[in-house]
């Protein structure tokens, strides 16, 4: 045991904690020290992020960043095992970080309750060695891939749909990127998200855990990472296949003549589908509401700290059944917490014949940021 206590980086307590890693020749003391010095960013603390974060933290990755601007919803608990029932309503990054600190007090956790966007993508990715794409939005997947190409960091990708999962490792110096595999995002609505189409909870565990395993291999420099290979997991048929794919010389991010410039490119399904929805900026809301009604579509747990005076409150999840409470002759500004659900609500209301609709850009959070009396975040 004497040689095992001679680590400059790891305490006696750490050596005990990680002993089952130290026993594997491919990891050992050197590998464990490498993990302790590593920094990993996990984008999205949801179905994939839950297992990935817990295994990375338990494995002793020295610094883990977790970024998510969403809050825990009761419907998340079916698969997002990092959260307790008492976390419902809390920001996911903050709640996940708390759980991880309890799991492993020997490591550092950065809780980032923000949206990963074009303005912060490169700066965030630069701070870490490896990034895990655990998001549930196509636009964010392209952003992560672009930022990783620009910052030359590996992008450990996972995605799920009902019973099917995908895993791969993208990254400029290491092989093809996400855009080489899927140059074109699907049209909005053609590929349902977990919230729309559902997902087998355990599949999220399988895929997120596989991402953690790929990330650990990259950090340790062992094995054959899924670079240039896409793993396809079919839960129903109990089949796992991998297909090979090459770097696309015409890729706009990592090809011979990249055209994305020095900034990740936003390919947004939401923006593309609703670009014709008139927006109200937070600063202009009070003015606009002299002549319009605010329709607040936040869910009850998001609206616990109140809304604006005179707002009509119909949670997005109840909109279908309660549309009759609205008057299509009236003008409505539709608002949610961050400005995503409101776009969806506008689309549904338009289909039902409403025409005088606007949506609040950035949601009530953007409005609250300018009004101290409205501090609900």
């Amino acid at each position: 045991m004497a040689e095992r206590t001679s680590s400059a980086r790891l305490s006696a307590r750490a050596l005990r904690r990680y002993s089952r890693h130290l026993l594997i020749p491919e990891v050992g003391l050197t590998g464990q020290e490498r993990l302790a010095a590593a920094r990993v960013l996990v984008v999205g603390a949801g179905g994939l992020g839950s297992p990935a974060l817990q295994y990375l933290a338990a494995a002793g990755v020295g610094r883990i960043g977790v970024i998510d601007d969403d809050s825990v919803d009761e419907t998340n608990l079916q698969r997002q095992t990092i959260f307790s029932a008492s976390d419902v309503g809390r920001n996911k990054a903050v709640a996940a970080a708390e759980r991880l600190r309890g799991l492993n007090p020997l490591i550092a956790i950065d809780a980032l309750p923000l949206r990963f966007g074009p303005d912060n993508a490169r700066d965030l990715v630069r701070l870490y060695d490896t990034v895990l794409d655990c998001t549930d939005r196509f636009p964010t997947r392209y952003l992560i891939s672009d930022a990783c190409v620009l910052e030359r960091k590996p992008d450990v990708y996972g995605s799920i749909f009902r019973f099917d999962g995908q895993v791969s490792v993208f990254g400029a110096e290491f092989g093809p990127c996400y855009r080489c595999l899927y140059p074109e995002a699907p049209p909005p609505g053609s590929v349902p998200s977990c919230a729309e189409g559902g997902v087998l909870g355990a599949l999220a565990g399988v895929i997120g855990t596989w991402q953690a395993s790929e990330a650990l291999k990259l950090l340790l420099g062992i094995g054959e990472p899924l670079i240039g290979r896409l793993m396809l997991v079919d839960t129903l048929g109990a089949n796992v296949r991998t297909v090979r794919f090459d770097r696309d010389p015409d890729c706009i991010a990592c090809g011979a003549r990249p055209t994305i410039g020095d900034r990740p490119l936003l390919v947004s399904d939401e923006e593309a589908s609703t670009s014709d929805v008139p927006e109200v900026e937070a600063d202009a809301l009070d003015e606009v509401l002299r002549d319009a009604f605010l329709l607040d579509v936040r869910e009850p747990h998001e609206a616990v700290l109140g809304s604006l005076d005179g707002a009509v409150q119909i949670p997005a999840s109840q909109l279908e059944g309660r549309m009759h409470e609205l008057d299509s002759a009236r003008r409505y500004v539709v608002a949610c917490r961050v400005g995503v659900k409101s776009l969806w609500a506008v689309t549904r209301l338009r289909e039902a014949g409403f025409t005088r609709l606007q949506h609040l850009q950035g949601g009530l959070l953007a409005y609250a940021a300018r009004h101290a009396e409205f501090d609900f975040f």
Binding site: G47, D136, S159, D164, G165, P186, P192, R244, F245
Partner: protein, 79 residues
């Protein structure tokens, strides 16, 4: 030729595995057109789906041969 369909396409085709009879010299795009003619709902995924022939992702122009296995891989976005 054996066709494997994944994720959303497995649902739209109502099967994860089917057989296609293709003319000699047919390309990946011909196989897709044949399937899309039977299942109109495939159209919305026409531009975003990738194809793997015998385990290698290939372009739509790639020629297919008897005995090839073609996998249809629509994008998957959930997390």
């Amino acid at each position: 030729m054996r066709v494997l369909a994944f994720a959303r396409l497995r649902e739209l085709l109502a099967s994860g595995e089917l057989t296609l009879e293709l003319a000699a010299g047919a390309r990946v795009s011909d196989a897709w057109r044949m399937l899309a003619a039977r299942h109109g709902a495939l159209e919305e995924l026409a531009n975003s789906t990738r194809f793997a022939r015998n385990g290698q992702i290939v372009s739509c122009d790639t020629r297919l041969a008897d005995g090839d296995e073609l996998a249809l891989l629509p994008p998957v976005g959930g997390g």
